[in-house]
Amino acid sequence: MCSVQETSLDLNVNIKPATKDCIKCKTTKATVLIRHSTYCKKCFQHVFVGKFRKNVEKSRISSNSTKLNGCGEKVMIGFSGGPSSRTMLQLINEYNETHPHETSKKCAYSEIIVCHIDESVLFNYDSTSSTFSQESTILQVEKIVQKYNYPFIGLYLQDIFNPDVTKSGCYSNVLELAVDDAKILQLEEGSVVAPTEKLLHLLNNVSKSTAKEDFIWYLKLCYLIFTARKNGCKRLFLGDCSSRLSIKIISQTSKGRGFSLPLETSGEIDWFEDVIITRPMKDMLSKEIGIYNQLNGLESIYVPSMTSMMHPKASIERLTEDKEFPSTVSTIARTGAKLTPSDSIVKENRCVENNKIWQDRITVMTIPSLHKSEECNGQQSSSNKTTSRYDNCNTINDESTTNVEFMDLLCYACRVNMLYVNVINQRIILPPYVAEGVEEQKNNNRKQMKKQIENYLLCDDEEL
């Protein structure tokens, strides 16, 4: 890294545009341009850190007001090693050591854990020699984290298949998807396929990059949430900056995820109830972050995404990254900040029947056969289609669910993704946490059914 030079007046004598002063201190020559405002190094850093502090302060006050116990909470930092989370790590550390509004030297957070998920499995894994052409990022990341003396958790994405990455912490069944059914399977001990193989098998059978990227992102997010929960952290810090968020707003909208946009882009969201997600970098542009890290010698690691080196039309995410929209990043981010999930849609997306019908109605894929059409309307015919296609498939026992039932447990956008999962010749395995969720949902449905009919049951403890 090159050394930070002091103001380099002599070098800039001949430049064409008129040299501008910093708009804040008005005395020093500006060296940074952010959204039409010019700053000197010192003022830039001051403003930058100030924005960060405002965001963490706000989130801390809102959570403290409910608890009033004074001592800070235990938090987890999701650290990819990339520039934005690198800045975040540094600033959280600074904030935790000195924060202005309290005179006592108490820390803002009782404990800080740093968690990193290694994704090198996605890049050129050679199954014959069990080696990756890209080395693990954990060592590089750990080296950075060591400077801060925080406990570090390095995880591998493929370990999302471990039984402890579940609500109960020890759910070892997985969900197997085939053409006609989705079965909850017990994995036989001993003959266990390595998690790496399972993950790659799953991803290799997702035919489009857009769906693949979406899968990976949700695996990662769930892994982070489970890890935070397991370690008793009440808060998860994610490093999405405003440039990133504006891309996400557009790409998630394009993928039909409007309903979950607040989860993906809010500065603070309690979507997962017991673990609050906070995005303290939400107001910073990637340009600001790049400059800040450069000025402070904060080294980050290069974290490629699956499509970084691909053609812009490789995926929706990649296409959105490549577009230069005429409006500013902040306009888009502000729009996103004003949205909240609509109750009815969230409900629909968590219990999906209505929505499923909506999809079938506006995209008609079949015609009712002529003799049937006399007595059934379009809606019934779609359910007819469903039964006729599935009534002669293998008998439904307790552990097996039809694909249709499984699809009904998914949100709209995940169902779109599932269209790109190739189950024709393959049996695809989804991680235990998905299987656990399916089982839980099924039990809930049984309970609800029981409740509805309980007056008619002859025996209270009737096994259902």
Partner: protein, 354 residues
């Protein structure tokens, strides 16, 4: 190799459906295309029996197919609608005069009464005159604002309950994107509504909300519908460029993207603490407006102020004030609550296979 239609498994597949990628024959394509629109109409309870409906007709592909499909569905499913064609003459020589000829032919083909409302009659200015005055920079703003009002005013003249427009899924998805890019939160929330009903104003809806533009063109092509496809001379591929290109790219990557965006748009809800403008009426002409004067009156004022400098001999100045807008009486005749929306009836759902 002969590829069979994946739906009926009998006929030769003639098209790959843009919406689903299915390879289907013509008849099945017609069936799914029409049924989706019928489903949209029924599920959203767009009409009541005996409603008087104006079809906004520009002579372009969307409105021509709309007129065709509305007439067809009205007969097939016995909606019992009384339908009209409503056209706006913006006064653009070499463009609208030609497309109005198409509409007049449609009137004959579909045997629907036609009403033409012109900008000069309503505002005292034709687009040709406006362009002379303001040049080619903001002319589309004028045209857009004036057209919206003109449709409502035409609807009042026809005494209809409802206007249907040819906005398709691509248009709506694009509007969702544009409103995000522009940060227009109020519009973002409204733009996916299939039916807008300002208080006392004419109901307006979009039966093509879930219909892909490509499929509309395909339908028109196979059915050999007579439509006018020249672009407006004042805005060759003008506004919307950016979001449109992006949408088209998205569609290539994932065909369902257009519907997915609409689904996203429907799910957006604005936080309660965010203030949205309230709707009132224009002090001058009585049209709905969130400000003291509606946009049309503001634009018109600007135009007329410029008048003394450039004298237009053929245009008397006193016509340049918009006639007062008479709002529709909500309690009028066939709009009482006892009249239920048209629902799916079992008897008339036969498949019209050619």
């Amino acid at each position: 190799m002969v590829r069979h239609c994946v739906i009926c498994n009998k006929e030769r597949a003639a098209v790959k459906r843009p919406k689903t990628g299915q390879k289907v024959c013509r008849e099945c394509f017609y069936y799914v295309f029409e049924t989706e629109i019928h489903n949209t109409i029924i599920d959203n309870k767009l009409f009541k029996k005996n409603d008087k409906v104006a079809i906004a007709a520009s002579g372009g592909k969307d409105s021509t197919v709309l007129a065709h499909v509305m007439k067809l569905l009205n007969e097939r499913y016995q909606y019992g609608l009384e339908m009209f064609l409503l056209s706006i003459d913006e006064g653009i020589t070499g463009y609208r005069d030609d497309s109005l000829e198409t509409v007049k032919r449609n009137q004959q083909q579909y045997e629907l009464p036609l009403k033409i409302v012109s900008y000069s009659e309503l505002y005292g200015w034709s687009m040709d005159q406006i362009v002379k005055e303001v040049g080619l920079k903001n002319n589309c703003t004028f045209c857009g604002v004036f057209r919206r009002q003109a449709l409502d005013r035409g609807a009042v003249m026809l005494d209809v309950d409802h206007i249907v427009t040819g906005h398709n899924a691509d248009d709506i998805a694009e509007t969702v994107l544009m409103n995000i890019l522009r940060g227009d939160i109020a519009r973002l929330q409204r733009c996916t509504e299939i039916c807008t009903t300002g208080d006392g104003c004419v109901r307006r809806s979009k039966p093509f909300k879930y219909t892909y533009e490509k499929e509309i063109v395909m339908y028109a092509y196979f059915k050999k519908l007579d439509y006018f496809s020249t672009e407006c001379i004042y805005s060759p591929n003008a506004y919307r460029g950016h979001a449109r290109t992006f949408l088209k790219d998205l569609e290539v990557i994932r065909p369902s993207a257009i519907i997915d965006i609409i689904h996203s748009g429907e799910a957006f809800e604005v936080k309660k603490e965010v203030k949205l403008p309230t709707q009132g009426v224009c002090k001058r002409c009585g049209y709905m407006s969130s400000n003291e004067l509606c946009k049309a009156c503001v634009l018109l004022e600007g135009l007329n102020r410029g008048l003394p400098k450039k004298v237009h001999g053929d245009m008397p100045r006193d016509t340049a004030i918009i006639p007062h807008f008479n709002r529709i009486q909500v309690s009028k005749g066939n709009y009482d609550d006892s009249n239920k929306p048209i629902e799916e009836s079992k008897s008339n759902n036969k498949i019209d296979q050619g």
